[in-house]
Symmetry: C2
Subunit: 202 residues, 2 copies
DNA sequence: CGTTAATGCGAATATCTATTCGCGTTCAAT
DNA sequence: ATTGAACGCGAATAGATATTCGCATTAACG
């Protein structure tokens, strides 16, 4: 941020600008999210935008940071540890993922679609990190039932599989019901995570 | 295509332009693939480009079509039907996927990264279609061993999971070995596809 | 109040890129 | 060889968008 807003008026403007950015992206798509539009939407001028954000991407990063916190909060609020059944735990996580992705009127969708030219990495990596910690805790607690060794790899595969399958599903006309998709994804993921490590049965 | 090239010289130019497009994308990335650069690379002028391609995207579509044929050809050449072991069959498919994705010096990677603003749909859908047909044949032949009902959903999930997990893997610094990834992906996918339909065991 | 620093403005500027168009060149058929 | 059509050229045009800068307005504080 180029300058720290010191007065109340300007702090509100910074806030309004980030809000406006989100609104523009979800309404017009990332490509048509111009500095002019953002400023107009926020009810300020382009010049003011550059008072507090070095450039356009700084503004978008500010938005991403806020969203990342939102997601982290929601994830922490899920009491997944208490769910003993792996299948159930996975299913809840997937449903949470769907709800995030569908929230905010397609904002997340547009962001994930453009993930390669945005600091979406932050969010995806964050999600993955959270799932990783969560998984570590979960499988530590339930080690007796599910003794996994290569958790890193498995969580990597699983989060990407779920995330992008959901993205593809939602960003296409859904020829497949969301119910069915969530159910089947759960089956695949839970089945995979439950598989014991490499040991040939006699 | 705006006009049909009638003379040998112009047919070669069209070919050179498509080649140049591929080269630009793989060398400089999609964002820096300008008409000027393409023309320069092809050794012709911008104006000539517009003789045969209505606009820039028409040129890219021509490239995509050619690539799609390449992939389809390679896929058809794989003798997967003969592979009786599901695990083996899946593994070979995944390795094929990796090889395609890594081929042509990152061209495919750049395209898949930008899939939302390209007719990549064509390719992804094509791949998915091919896998679908292939799966239909495969599971028809091996119905005794793997009686699957909801093949559509399963193949949708599986293709997207594999494709985008691979993309994420290759487009990041690979913290995970490709070997391990291929092995684990295979385990997940084959395990899932082998699961019997919904019937509670006694 | 009055002064000053912070804030806000938006037309003007800089840059980048797709696309066009008028003119010169080459091809192919007679 | 001649001629008309196809071809090829690239400077000029058009359109879009990020970023700046000099001036106007507002808040803070004595």
């Amino acid at each position: 941020m180029r300058k720290q807003p010191q007065q109340k008026r300007s702090r509100e403007m910074v806030r309004a600008l980030v809000d406006a950015t989100a609104l523009c992206i979800q309404r017009h798509g990332l490509d048509d999210t111009t500095t002019a539009r953002i400023a107009e939407q926020a009810g300020v001028s382009v010049g003011s935008l550059y008072q507090y954000f070095g450039d356009k991407s700084a503004l978008i990063e500010a938005l991403m940071d806020r969203l990342a916190e939102d997601i982290a909060g929601g994830l922490r609020r899920l009491p997944l540890m208490a769910v003993n059944d792996l299948n159930e735990m996975v299913h809840r996580s997937i449903l949470f993922g769907f709800s995030v992705l569908r929230s905010r009127d397609g904002l997340y969708l547009e962001l994930v679609r453009n993930w390669h030219r945005l600091p979406t990495h932050r969010m995806v990596d964050l999600l993955q990190q959270h799932f990783m910690e969560l998984s570590r805790l979960y499988f530590l607690r339930h080690y007796r039932d599910y003794p996994i060794e290569n958790l890193e790899v498995r969580v990597f595969i699983v989060t990407n599989s779920v995330l992008f399958t959901m993205v593809r599903h939602v960003s296409q006309g859904d020829l497949i019901g969301e119910q069915a998709l969530a159910r089947e994804l759960t089956r695949m993921v839970a089945g995979y995570l439950a598989e014991p490590p490499e040991t040939a049965a006699p």
